[in-house]
């Protein structure tokens, strides 16, 4: 992907070469979070990226030609074009060139669209994702369509294996988008859309909701981890298990805090008496790298801060603040982090 990085940088340089800041913007290219359509890691995304560069250069040429003709005509000539020459100019540049461009574009994009929309291979792993306000409910499905494991806001996928997504929504419209893997597909209540892709490289890819869905649309994010198939199988096997039991006194106290504060009203812990579905399934919460739908890293400090005052980080989200003593909070965090 080195060449595409170079192209991004060149493109950015062309666009904002007047900006002194732009050097800084590209110095941070090697940032940890990757969510760029110009850094594709699947055939689908790569096809679109190629189409983009073709259009960028092709239409750039059309732009230069048009504006060039305008100023060439103004500066280098002192006579009006004859009717015949004008007619030729309008027909050639105003009809024939746009027509050829349009034919090329429609042809290219139909061909690409056809290959993208083709049916996924039969051995594709099927994941059902439900858009919620404002997080992602993720179900890994068996071949017969029954749910194998449920998680939220973080998906593991096997590298080199096609992944088929069934996308729907519970409340309002969302849109599922991981730029490096594919373009976006809307999640509509009452309908199920499908899309598929194959990740070609291991890595951590970020995604984000792309259809305005209310107050926390901006922070409705998620993580996709493309891992080797054997690692994926291990992970999925873990996810299918029930919630881990507390292993020490602090975690047991934390579990009690969880139960006494009715966290189970909204959150689910498979194998424990918590079966809420309003919020994310927490059965293997400790294994996730982020919390609050990709907003903060999942570590002790951020988790404690989130539980104490979720409205500060994500105003308007449905999780109420929980009044706990510092000790209760630490116990609860320890318990949740143990849910690997």
């Amino acid at each position: 992907m080195v060449s595409s990085r170079l192209k991004i940088t060149l493109f950015g340089y062309t666009l904002t070469s007047l900006s002194l800041l732009n050097g800084k913007a590209y110095a941070s290219q090697s940032k940890p979070l990757r969510q760029s359509a110009l850094d594709s890691v699947s055939a689908q995304s790569q096809g679109i990226e190629t189409l983009w560069w073709w259009m960028f250069y092709g239409f750039g040429a059309v732009f230069l030609l048009t504006i060039g003709l305008l100023f060439f005509g103004l500066w280098h000539h002192r006579r009006q074009l004859s009717t015949k020459a004008s007619f030729f100019l309008v027909t050639a540049a105003g009809v024939v060139i746009p027509l050829l461009t349009v034919i090329a574009l429609v042809g290219g994009s139909l061909t690409l669209g056809h290959s993208i929309a083709a049916k996924p291979p039969a051995d594709a792993l099927t994941i059902k994702i439900v858009g919620r306000m404002w997080w992602w409910e993720v179900h890994y499905l068996h071949e017969d369509g029954s749910v194998a494991a449920t998680t939220a806001n973080e998906m593991y996928i096997p590298v080199g294996q096609p992944v088929k997504l069934l996308l729907t929504s519970r409340e309002v419209i969302h849109s599922f988008w991981v730029p490096q893997l594919h373009g976006k597909t809307d999640m509509l209540p009452g309908r199920t859309n499908a899309t598929w892709f194959t990740a070609e490289e291991t890595g951590v890819y970020r995604g984000q909701c792309a259809e305005f869905c209310g107050s926390q649309h901006a922070l409705m994010m998620f993580t996709v981890r493309a891992v080797p198939p054997d690692k994926f199988r291990t992970w999925l096997a873990t996810q299918q298990q029930s919630a881990r039991l507390p292993t020490n006194a602090q975690e047991r106290r934390g579990q009690r805090v969880f139960m006494e504060n009715d966290c189970g009203q909204c959150h689910r812990l498979r194998g424990a008496s918590a079966s809420g579905t309003l919020g994310p399934d927490l059965t293997h919460f400790g294994s996730r790298s982020t919390l609050a739908a990709g907003v903060r890293p999942n570590n002790t400090g951020h988790l404690a801060g989130w539980i104490a005052d979720p409205q500060k980080i994500k105003p308007g989200n449905k999780m109420p603040a929980t009044l706990l003593t510092p000790q209760q909070l630490l116990d609860l965090v320890a318990y949740l982090q143990n849910l690997k």
Binding site: L15, N22, A25, W52, S175, K184
Partner: protein, 635 residues
Amino acid sequence: MAALMNNTAVYDHHADATDQLRETWRSPTGLLGWFKHVNHTKIGVRFIITSLVFFVLGGILALLMRLQLVAPENTLMGPELYNQLFTMHGTTMMFFFAVPAMEGLGIYLVPLMIGTRDMCFPRLNAFGYYVYLFAGITLYVSLFAGLAPDAGWFSYVPLANIEYSPGLGVSFWTTMITFIEISALTAAVELIVTILKQRAPGMSLNKMPLFVWSMLVMSFMIIFAMPTVMAGSVLLALDRTFDMQFFVPAGGGDVLLWQHLFWFFGHPEVYIIAVPALGIISTVISCFTQRDIFAYTAMVLSLVAIGFVSFGLWVHHMFTTGLPQLGLSFFTAASAMIAIPSGVQIFCWIATLWGAKIRPGVPMLFIFGFFVVFVIGGLTGVMVASVPFDMQVHDTYFVVAHLHYVLIGGAVLPFFAALYFWYPKVVGKQMSEGIGKWSFWLIMIGLNLTFMPMHLLGLQGMPRRVYTYLQEMGWGDLNLFVSISALIMGLGFMLTIYNAVVSRKRGQPAGSNPWRAATLEWATASPPESFNHRHLPVVSTLNPLRDFDDKASRPCVAGLRADRREVLITTVVDARPEAVCLLPTPTLWPLLTALSVGFGFLGFMFKPILFVVGFFLTFACIVGWLWPHKPWLNE
């Protein structure tokens, strides 16, 4: 009717006849009188000034958004306010600035250009203005009360439905959008009838200025596009108020129905704004080169083609909704197809400009700006017509960049050209050239530095309509840069508005035809007298003022009475004189009717029964409005 038209009629300059005419068409004075005005020049100016006020307000909202996005995880404002801001910015710019501004230009200029004294339904004109004004004021009151709509200017359901937007905010949106479209429709009907029936004798359709053609096409588009958004917003209001479930999947409704209804209007809307701009560009280029636009017929046909094709594109706003690929491909082809009539227009202008000795002037600068900005926006538009590419950039900053290139390039820059071009006619003074040039360059630099980097932000994964973003996303530097550039652009726009305000007093007197333009509006005094043309002109060419340079030799109509508001009605195609029509006089009824309709709409939000009350009030007002005056009794 032959007696009406006399090609050899000589200009009579009897002062008493002129005075009588002036008195007949005079608008009443005083505060109460101000509310009675019906003359198209008065109403047109009101539309334009009001739309500029909303332009400034919408711009301020945009700058506030840019202030919030200046840094990652900025805490200047929360999502509630930000979501209201972007909803109101879009709604303001589309419904309260762009469309009324273009209609205002049409209302002011069309009767002057086609050589008549007023539009066919002057009272309806006034009514349309008050409806627009009340809708705008109501929406901004809701913003200052913290109750503004926050579901986007597109109000997608289910988010905009009562379950997820329970407050008054979206109710304000649905009722005010339905309400203001009444205004758009009245202006459209008015323009169509005036253009088709009141042209000066001899101004057959093929001698009609391109600006008038563009207004005609715009008006027909409004008539076909606006009813769908009105129908949609009424259905949404019924869903919200009476739980009718048109858009609720659980009740058998469908969320995509709303998107179809909205975009069947929403896409033509863009061209409703852009088509009049094409007319402005033709007018300005023709004047500054002192040439006819190359290929008049091709220009008219491509205007009409743009009008038609624009109704076949709406699904390209819905490429990611999971509709079948085959269906989508038609909309890709249609969307890309619009490049052809646009290409014809652009290259006809380039052919006209080829080798021309262009007189210096700010209007022409803005037209050059249009070429650069609009072509970029048009090309990115063809890009997003491709389904796979759109799947990546849809609802990202790439589209934000694209649409601002199209709308600023295709509408705002030409509109500003029009401001500089026709200001001397409306006010009688020239706007400052110096300030105009500063304004132009600040706008050009500012807008390119603002929107060009947004393309890249979109490709780097930044979605639209986000009130904040994480530092780790790496979008901070570009956003800071964009925010600073937006300030430069805002400054540029404000300079022109400042210019317009101070030039009223300080500007050089303009004279009747400062640009030596060829269309009929420049035959009148600047500003035009209450009756527009002292003698209604008779036209035989496309450039009546250029081809009949000697004022005294211009043929004119004789025989219209000066003691009452008479206009000449001509045939649709050839503009042969057909009849004389008596226009109504100034009155308060349009204001009262607009108030009653407004009461009905606003009342509906609080108590549905008030809508019925509003209906009967409106009925009473219309009776008063149409009360016969029996002019024949005065004979």
